[in-house]
Amino acid sequence: MLETLVETLAIVLDGSRLLYMLLGISIGLTIGLLPGLSGTVGMSILLPFVYGMDPYAGMALLIGMVAVVHTGDTFPSVLLGIPGSSGSQATIMDGYPLAKKGQAARALGAAFFSSMIGGVIGGVILFSIIPIVRPVILSLGSPELFMLALLGLSMVGILAGKSPFIGILAGLFGMMLGVIGSAPSVPEYRYTFDWLYLYDGIPLPLVALGLFAFPVLIDLLVGKKSISESSALSGKWFEGVKDTVKHRWLVLRSSILGAVAGFIPGLGGSVVDWLSYGTAKQTSKNNETFGEGDIRGVIAPESSNNAKEGGSLIPTLMFGIPGSGTTAILLGGLLLMGVEAGPRMVTEELSLTMSIIWTLVIANIIGAAACLILTRPISRFSLISPSKLVPFLTIILIVGAYQTSQHWGDLLLFVLLGIIGWIMVQLDWPRAPILIGFVLALAAERYLWISVSRFDWEWVYRPGVLIIAGIIILIFGSSYWISKIGALKGAKAKGGNV
């Protein structure tokens, strides 16, 4: 296998294939920069062009694009507090506060460097896991997948909010949004008001744009101040690189977590960054600064969301099971180039699999390097007066929102969800659990339905289910305990009676 890996490097570095990879990287970074345009949109745009293409060149284009979307999407997350794509939501938690403190360049430097390392680790994990992953994936049944969906919800729902009840309520609200549209088990449309637009459900990018972008637009204008609260960008991107090196174990841990979560079908990229953020917060010392501009809150999700790409390719390539919309389109791309995903990818098509690993690694390095070079000029965005920035931002967001299904409903829902998001900001209610609940709703319902249909309620006694349930209880318990300790510390600090 190592021999094939070395041989494939020559194929990947061939002139025309390298050009396709560079084109993919440029498109991926641009798509990441524009809020609302996700890797899935990028894949959809590129798909018609790969038809009949040499599979190595086609994969260089597609993987080159998808590998760096989560590198480019850091710019809007840190500078504007708007997720560039669904995988960069958790970066906002500390990246945006850092930008507001005038340390945008530092946050971006840390984000890009940890993204690069995460992406490389994701590629290495993809390579090393090929021989051993098959039995693991096959042992996960629908009950375990349902429990994993609950695990994702419990983790981010609790950790994202100051009050656990409000966090859970926000998560449930997201799940309610997620059940709109067709039911997964029977041909029935729910909560659609006989409006054709809602038959396919609400698109995820729209929920993210509405909840996060609309409030930013309004608050920027009302506040009449630039995104950065200081007059100069005192942070240097190299400080961010040094921070990443300092927190190398966090990078490694988050990358491994990202790759592992990425390979679980249905868990999806939108959850990985929150899982990583939550874990980092739970396991770090002096974690009270998380959410207020702690660099570790940037490093953890950025390491994991790039590493996730390597992990998500494992079920996609090995078993033909797409873990997300992006990998589903990637499967389509493979078919267009005459390649069928499955066990053949580790036998007859092993060199193509190896070329994908190389592309993933090289694209992450080139993408991060390009972003590091551009950090200073693009960071200056955060000093622009909002009344100059907002009109352009509004146009990009309206275009982005409309692209989700190219229907007028996109714009209506953008405003409606935007108003809800703005109210939540004012009331200090967390918005992130809504997204997590939304993402997990359909997968949770589908897996629960399959579990009950196949095993009745006997599935709750499966060892895998019990282990995951134990982890969920542990997380709930520790979160409650941590919030209690935090409240006690707060009361002591105020000098109140405890």
Binding site: I45, S163, F165, I166, I168, L169, L172, F173, M175, M176, V179, A183, S185, V186, E188, R190, Y191, F214, L217, I218, L221, V222, S385, S387, K388, P391, F392, T394, I395, I398, V399, Y402, Q403, Q406, W408, L411, V415, I419, W422, I423, M424, Q426, L427, W429, A441, A444, E445, L448, W449
Partner: protein, 144 residues
């Protein structure tokens, strides 16, 4: 309005919404009903808990913080955004964008005419490039 009052109203709004979702779910087939029914029931329970928790906390220590100190400004700028979307619905994306850019940059940003022209030109070139190379669609209006 006080922030706590707004919080109570928001929790109440979610509670009523969940109750409606519970009632609506009974019109679905049994297999399609169980999940939204469960989630909506939990949503109603938690929104009630949040309502009671906020109410009790407010009784214990009354907070006078306002919901928003510049609510008039919020309405004004939200109006600009919603007005732009309504204009797109009538005049189409490109004409509306031209009108929106000129009026916003001139009246709100208070740019000079030549600065407005440069910004508008740059935006239109960007949109043209986007349409040509990324092949995306603009929202169509009633007339254009």
């Amino acid at each position: 309005m006080r922030r706590t009052t707004a919080s109570l109203l928001f929790a109440f709004f979610i509670f009523i919404g969940c109750l409606w979702l519970i009632i609506e779910s009974f019109s679905f087939q049994a297999t399609a009903r169980y999940f939204p029914l469960t989630v909506a029931t939990l949503g109603a329970a938690f929104s009630f808990l949040v309502f009671v928790q906020t109410f009790m906390k407010d009784r214990k220590e009354r907070q006078e913080t306002l919901f928003h100190e510049q609510f008039g400004e919020v309405i004004k700028y939200a109006g600009w955004l919603i007005g732009y979307i309504v204009l797109i619905n009538i005049a189409g994306f490109i004409p509306s964008t031209i009108i929106y850019m000129i009026t916003f940059l001139y009246f709100v940003t208070q740019m000079k005419i030549h600065q407005v022209a440069v910004s508008l030109g740059g935006t239109l070139v960007f949109l043209f490039v986007l349409q040509e190379f990324v092949d995306i669609e603009w929202p169509a209006g009633m007339f254009f």
